[in-house]
Amino acid sequence: MNTATTTVNGHSAGHEGHGHHPAGLMRWITTTNHKDIGSMYLWFSFAMFLVGGCMALTIRSELFQPGLQLVRPEFFNQLTTLHGLIMVFGAIMPAFVGFANWMLPLQIGASDMAFGRMNNLSFWLLPPAALLLVTSMFVPGGAAAAGWTLYPPLTIQQGMGMDMAIFALHILGFSSIMGSINIITTIFNLRAPGMTLMKMPLFCWTWLVTAFLVIAVMPVLAGAVTMTLTDRHFGTSFFSAAGGGDPVLFQHIFWFFGHPEVYIVIIPGFGVVSQVISTFSRKPLFGYASMVYAVAAIGILSFTVWAHHMYTVGMPVTAQLYFMYATMFIAVPTGVKIFNWTATMWRGSLSFETPMLFAIGFIFLFTVGGFSGLVLAMVVVDVQMQDTYYVVAHFHYTMVAGALFSAFAGAYYWLPKWTGHMYNEKLGQVHFWLSFIFFNMTFFVQHFLGIAGMPRRIPDYALQFTDFNQISTIGAFGFGLSQLLFLYNIITCIKGGPKAPAKPWEGAEGLEWDVPSPAPYHTWEVQPVVK
């Protein structure tokens, strides 16, 4: 292995060992091909979604009735924590990195990602991290149980499951930083001639901003959990008042990471939705430039608002006011995006295939989530809502109906390109409508629970909260089951189905539709010239 094979395959093919890559399992383990790696990311993410979803269903089952039935409180807290960590770091982030791997090189006319081997490493770091998180449930003391936000001093009290979560986060951090370096470099250096930045499809732009956010904040999270680790084992006192530290210090560092993180989760989705809306409106995206500026503005502003998660820790009033104003200001660029999408649809020629349904569902429900975010941004109102189910409702509207729905939209949109077959449209539409209805059934009622004062992260609740919890639980099972349709649709689409043309969508634009479907193993080995 150390003796390098240094055959230069002429200058027509930039791929080492072109045409004779290993088959079977070794193909996937050793691949440096962006499409293979993209597919692995997507499958990994879906698997984690199922794992995290099953945890959510256990949580919801326990909450079906007042009283403790299924799980003990300490295990309930582990489930909540792992559900949050797995969904955010295991399901949503890898899903969009998967999209980026598949689509960025196709969209900008590059033959692959900038660093093929490192790309493979980024992916293969995920399984060990997932292994650490999931197996931590079975070690003495159980998994981390302090919530995905990992606030000390609770984290200081816990057993070795906490250390496993900390190392898992370190590894996930390496993975996503390397992934993002790869993405930024690819975008800056590998664009086809003539593909200027302002000609790039919006998905590339959103990933450019996202990758910047990832590189800026994942190391900060690594720092925060490292301090937790040394406080736990090496006697430091970052988060202990007796030593002059402060538990709230952790919260500041965590949310300096955490707030940009929630935009890391959503911004690539904005890109997908922008492209889908324009395709199925058969009309160019309205306000391309302002979309780019809006995404950049959201990215930059996201560094300035973190303490809106900490309104109740006892900050000075002036700090509360500042963070409130800054937070609310994010509604402006986000609003610009919503309005641009609406204007794109205006006087278009709209059709409603599954990707479009999910994109419209995204806009509709994400706006609900955005508005509840705005309500939470108002300090005095947040004092009533903080750490209640209203917050849970808010972030599931932004992350499930937002990030997840946009991932569904992207998956349906590009499936024909990936597999060479059309998916089953009827089934896709049923998947959308069931998801839409059950999603709202699960999470809309949680607003009421939160307003009425039901705290989050509790395994048991007072009687007046029973009805809404029952609705929510039924909805969650319906939502979960609906996802099986998606899985079925994908598998049948890979196995067969009507052949997809190179450009299956009438209104679609972009280089990815110039290559055949399914996209061949190597594409754009000679870069196209964009005029």
């Binding site: 292995m1 150390n2 390098a4 240094t6 230069v8 200058h11 930039g14 080492e16 890559h21 290993p22 070794m26 383990i29 050793t30 440096t32 590059a110 033959s111 692959d112 900038a114 081997r117 490192m118 493979n120 490493l121 293969w124 770091l125 060990p128 292994l131 650490l132 003495p140 070795m160 190392f167 898992a168 590894i171 390496f174 930083i177 370096i181 930024i184 470099t185 250096n189 003539g194 800026a216 190391p219 720092g223 925060a224 490292t226 301090m227 406080d231 430091t236 970052f238 008042a241 007796a242 030593g243 002059g244 530290g245 402060d246 709230v248 210090l249 500041h252 000679v526 870069q527 010239v529």
Partner: protein, 283 residues
């Protein structure tokens, strides 16, 4: 408008090194967890992980070097490396920012807060001063003084930055002796710096009662200087590899990104030290 050469981009073939690397990290994580919780076979697992990691780095970088020698890396690949290294260093900056942030917060916010009127209910006679080990710390200890070893260390690192640049000039003018001597001096200065840091730590532990557990001061002091020291160590190792490679005749005046990457890294480590010197030792 686009020539063939420009659009060529080298994509490496299949490689198992990444999987080896990820296995190494898994072993290291599992080993550390076991070690810290005193269960199972922590130390052996950690060391095994480290060994696999070194093996992976050796294999991976050998491959990269071979590819570079074979002329696979044209201008465009070189540019990619520059972007990549630049953003990597940015991520390191943010990692240090977290710890500088913690130091700032403890000094400027939490210590004064702990001595406020309300907090007198809990910590009746705590006064806000810096350096401080916090209201709950009992015992005597001394903070670090800036104008002894730390000042010498600052000079050492500044000098090492200069010798490295001098080596770079040598490389660009194809003066191989200047390159080798410059690199050697840089390694030497880095190694002396590390030696002095180790001495400073043992002095602090044994004579000044300044430990990791010395409250906020000890925590921030050791984690900031410790992570910096760790980066110096990595930097010295990388410089040694570069020295070794240039002795073997690698690098041309035009084509030597590995050298530059290490130089960037070294300068970054220098700059972090300057900040450390000012806010940790001096102010």
């Amino acid at each position: 408008m686009s020539t063939h050469e420009e659009s060529y981009y080298y994509v490496p073939g299949p490689s198992a090194w990444p999987l080896v690397g990820s296995f190494a990290l898994l072993l290291m994580a599992a080993g550390s967890v076991m070690l810290m919780n005193k269960v199972g076979v922590g130390m052996p697992t950690l060391l095994a992980g480290l060994a696999v990691l070194l093996y992976m780095m050796y294999g991976w970088f050998s491959k990269v070097i071979a590819e570079s020698r074979a002329g696979e890396y044209n201008k465009r690949v070189d540019v990619s490396f520059r972007w990549g290294m630049g953003w990597f260093i940015f991520s390191e900056v943010m990692f240090f920012a977290a710890f500088f942030g913690a130091l700032f917060y403890i000094r400027v916010i939490s210590i004064p807060d702990l001595s406020s009127i309300d907090n007198a209910l809990i910590w009746p006679d705590f006064k806000s001063v810096w350096p401080s080990a916090g209201p709950g710390f009992k015992g005597e200890w001394d903070p670090m003084a800036p104008w002894g070893l730390p000042a010498i260390n600052t000079l050492l690192l500044l000098a090492s930055g200069a010798t490295l640049t001098w080596a770079h000039w040598g490389l660009m003018a194809n003066k191989r002796t200047q390159l080798a001597v410059g690199l050697f001096l840089t390694v030497l200065l880095g190694a002396i710096f590390m030696g002095l840091q180790v001495y400073e730590y043992s002095h602090a532990y044994q004579e000044m009662n300044l430990k990791l557990s010395t409250g906020g001061y000890g925590s921030t002091f050791y984690l900031l200087t410790g992570f910096h020291g760790f980066h110096v160590t990595l930097g010295v190792l990388m410089l040694m590899v570069i020295l070794f490679r240039s002795l073997k005749g690698d690098f041309t005046p035009k084509h030597h990104f590995a050298f530059e990457a290490v130089a960037w890294y070294w300068h970054f480590v220098d700059v972090v030290w300057l900040f450390l010197f000012v806010v940790v030792y001096w102010l």
